[in-house]
Subunit: 490 residues, 2 copies
């Protein structure tokens, strides 16, 4: 039976110490790959702790891939591919957006490092299957050398586009010909193509609140932009109509940053808007649809659309890592013809080696395995964080707004403080988070939505603040401390 | 002593057969790595062939990296890193632009395959050091894993920018801070940045004749373009002045496609034009400066410039392979400040793995070794092709215009045929080449330059045609046959 010396736990909770000890025993081989672990009940009896303590520790270990469970059989130590993969897990640091990133190009005042940063698209470094990626890269470099040196198809290599088609069919029910797919080195490149395709002499609409980078890309390329308010179903069609926009960018499967999933009624209204006049298009940004946790995700607009008015976009930035610059879009056929006519002089923006590697990574099943693993991991982080918040000392002051989807949710906090003061106090306690109102485009924008104070209106009368909690970069074992730090800030 | 059975040479020339036989003996180990080969004279005596036959075969083998020579010591079989690298050399095919490339996006009529294609940026597949690249990639994936997952600096990773600075210092005498460098997934991305930086509400000038893709990128992004004629010193400053352009794109170190190297007088005039009014900029495209064969290359405009009006651009497309999507530009400091202010919201367009791999490839000396090897190889191809043309049956009908630089030259052919007819007859004989006049922007453009017929004026009175010979994709052993096919076409 497993031995744990709880006298050595120091400041750690029982669960935290148990989790650390079991992890250590797996890493040093005391617990062997495939070994059947004791049931929660028997281990609890043996160690003299509660079943819930064992359960929490087991859950963390499952989430991080150290152990797995088989229904009615119990818990087992994971089989690792290679010693190297365990070694990676030992150096388990979360990768923050590197300091490089703000160095010189960013605002130096923001290089402060936080105990937990909810504003970044960080991912857990120990989650990426480096060994597998290295193995597939090596295969590609040795077996496909002659193909690798050739100039690639400007839309992306057919092997990768075919692999994406398969993935889209099984994950998103999208039936597309691989020829409709355009691969680009990041979504920004694809927006750039779209603007060259549709022109910059009309108005592009974006969601308000929303992801400001889209707005910046559009305006930087010379287009006019209109920020359209949303309600609890998503973008407001009457405002969209009034704006005279011809193209609209939306995130229907998981609105950024509110997390709203656009219901079918609003979707049909949006599609009807597009079909009501010639040359109206919808850019459907499906950026984190891989991470919907409950039930089957809602069908993309691209599938519901019957009039070829939807450009579907997705990225491997969320599902692999932000440093892999591979995104793609699926063009409706009439736009595809226009694209080939006007933009086929461009070169592909993604290197052949990475395109072939990713194609092989998908085709060998590594990608879907990785997505499932990450989804389980993110679900555990999310559930644990939400549970800890809901059981915290401040549980009566908080409200969590989420729809079981994506890598962020909203945390609404009522306190005696203004939103900006609370944000500052959180930062003082090592917690970095952005206010929802920061994602609005101007302080006069309506935000009756969620009964939140108007953007910029701080200190506000209502004494409540909604924070966008982008949790993909935090560690499970830090969550208890994160919640304590939030409690302390109120 | 080496044994060669010339009775088996079939249709091959003595040199061709000797070259093939020696290569085979190196590949199958009959001739061992490091082995001292007989002198040209003694091998010629032994085999009963002329010294020139041996010399040509040895030259080919040196060019392809099978043997090397040490002054006053003689010729030796190359040491290969690994069995794999020899195997690669066996499958020595030249990589044409893959059929994929024109499939669906291109004109299907152009998918015809040619015996020799002088229109493509193909590179010799057996020249790329796949094993080294794979080794460095593996090192990067295992040693730098945590850095690889972080969001990268939007200008590119500092390690690569520092490596490029070193390279620019030693190869081009450019003193730049690494912070002035912006890395992009191909030059088109960088042009795109430049247009967002300088705006599209003024005229961009391009060289006429020139690389039409630049013009397409500029106009596709909404800028107005003016095509400015060139004379034997390059772009005409008085026409540039008259055009009211504010930005000009030039290829001073090796004009595309004529090969002209801009002399210092014209360079100073061009720099004076830029300084004569505010907000005038020169984009200096130094795309194939690594491949200057004689003497030290002329200093870049970026170095001569004293008024921060030159944006320097270069690419790894020519020096590595077109499928590596890595280019860079060096911004003068005032523009750098503007870039950081306006465009720092963008993400880097090159994946972290390739950036770190290339940085390490440069820092470990593999890049400069590769460039030197390729330069020697291209020089051999070029010299052999030119020599064969100058010794051919049509030597009195041809004129070669080149300046010992870059990967293309002009071949002017006088025949009884119109330019378009000759082009067609060459294609019938498996030789694909573009006419110089195809690089002019309109048929009314002046081309008294080289006393060539006006663009589009076919059949022409002068019965001469200038072809752009982009030779980087042809094989040395095919050259004799290529020249025979050209002879046949006249």
């Amino acid at each position: 039976m497993i031995t744990i010396d709880f006298s050595k736990r120091g400041n750690l909770s029982l669960t935290g110490f148990l989790y650390q000890s079991l992890k250590q025993q797996i890493l040093d081989g005391t617990l062997k790959p495939g070994e059947h672990l004791p049931s929660k009940r028997s281990l609890a009896q043996h160690l003299g702790v509660s079943v819930i303590t064992i359960e929490n520790a087991y859950d963390n270990l499952i989430a991080e891939g150290y152990i797995y469970s088989i229904e009615k059989k119990g818990f087992f130590v994971e089989e690792f591919n290679a010693a190297g993969e365990i070694a990676e897990k030992q150096s388990a640091a979360i990768i923050p957006v590197s300091e490089e990133n703000t160095e010189k190009t960013g605002n130096p005042a923001q290089t402060q490092s936080f105990f937990a940063d909810f504003t970044k698209n960080a991912i857990a470094a120990n989650k990426f299957p480096f060994n597998t990626w290295a193995k597939v890269t090596k295969q590609v470099l040795t077996r496909q050398s002659s193909q690798l040196l050739a100039t690639q198809n400007m839309q992306g290599c057919p092997a990768l586009r075919q692999a994406i088609c398969q993935h889209l069919k099984s994950f998103r029910n999208i039936e597309a010909d691989y020829d409709q797919i355009i691969i680009g080195a990041g979504s920004e490149i694809l927006y750039n193509f779209i603007l060259q395709l549709l022109g910059t002499n009309h108005i592009y609409a974006v969601e308000n609140p929303g992801y400001h980078k889209i707005y910046k890309v559009f305006t930087s390329l010379g287009a006019k932009c209109a920020a359209i308010n949303i309600d609890k179903s998503g973008i407001l069609i009457n405002q969209l109509e009034k704006s005279n926009a011809r193209t609209v960018h939306v995130t229907p499967s998981h609105h950024f940053p509110t997390g709203i999933v656009m219901p079918i009624k609003r979707r049909l209204e949006l599609l009807a808007w597009a079909s009501a006049a010639p040359s109206r298009y919808i850019i459907e940004d499906d950026y984190d649809s891989e991470f919907r946790f409950m039930s089957r995700p809602i069908e993309p607009l691209f599938v519901t659309d019957r009039n070829s008015r939807v450009i579907y976009m997705n990225t491997f930035t969320k599902s692999l890592a932000p440093s892999f610059r591979i995104s793609y879009m699926v063009l409706p056929k009439p736009l595809l013809a226009l694209f080939k006519q006007n933009l086929n002089f461009y070169s592909s923006t993604v290197s052949a080696v990475e395109q072939f590697t990713l194609a092989s990574f998908i085709n060998q099943g590594f990608f879907s395995r990785h997505v499932i693993k990450m989804k389980n991991y993110y679900r555990s982080v999310r559930n644990f964080l939400i549970a800890e918040l809901q059981n915290s000392k401040i549980k009566s002051q908080i409200e969590i707004l989420e729809e079981n989807s994506g890598l962020h949710f909203l945390l609404n906090i009522k306190s005696g403080k203004s939103a900006s003061q609370l944000k500052e106090d959180l930062a003082q306690n090592g917690i970095n988070a952005k206010l929802l109102q920061e994602y609005f485009y101007s302080s006069s924008d309506s935000s009756d939505f969620f009964s939140l104070p108007k953007a910029g209106a701080a200190p506000d009368a209502k004494n409540q603040a909604a924070f966008v909690i982008n949790y993909s970069g935090i560690q499970i074992e830090d969550i208890k401390q994160i919640v304590q730090r939030i409690e302390k800030s109120l």
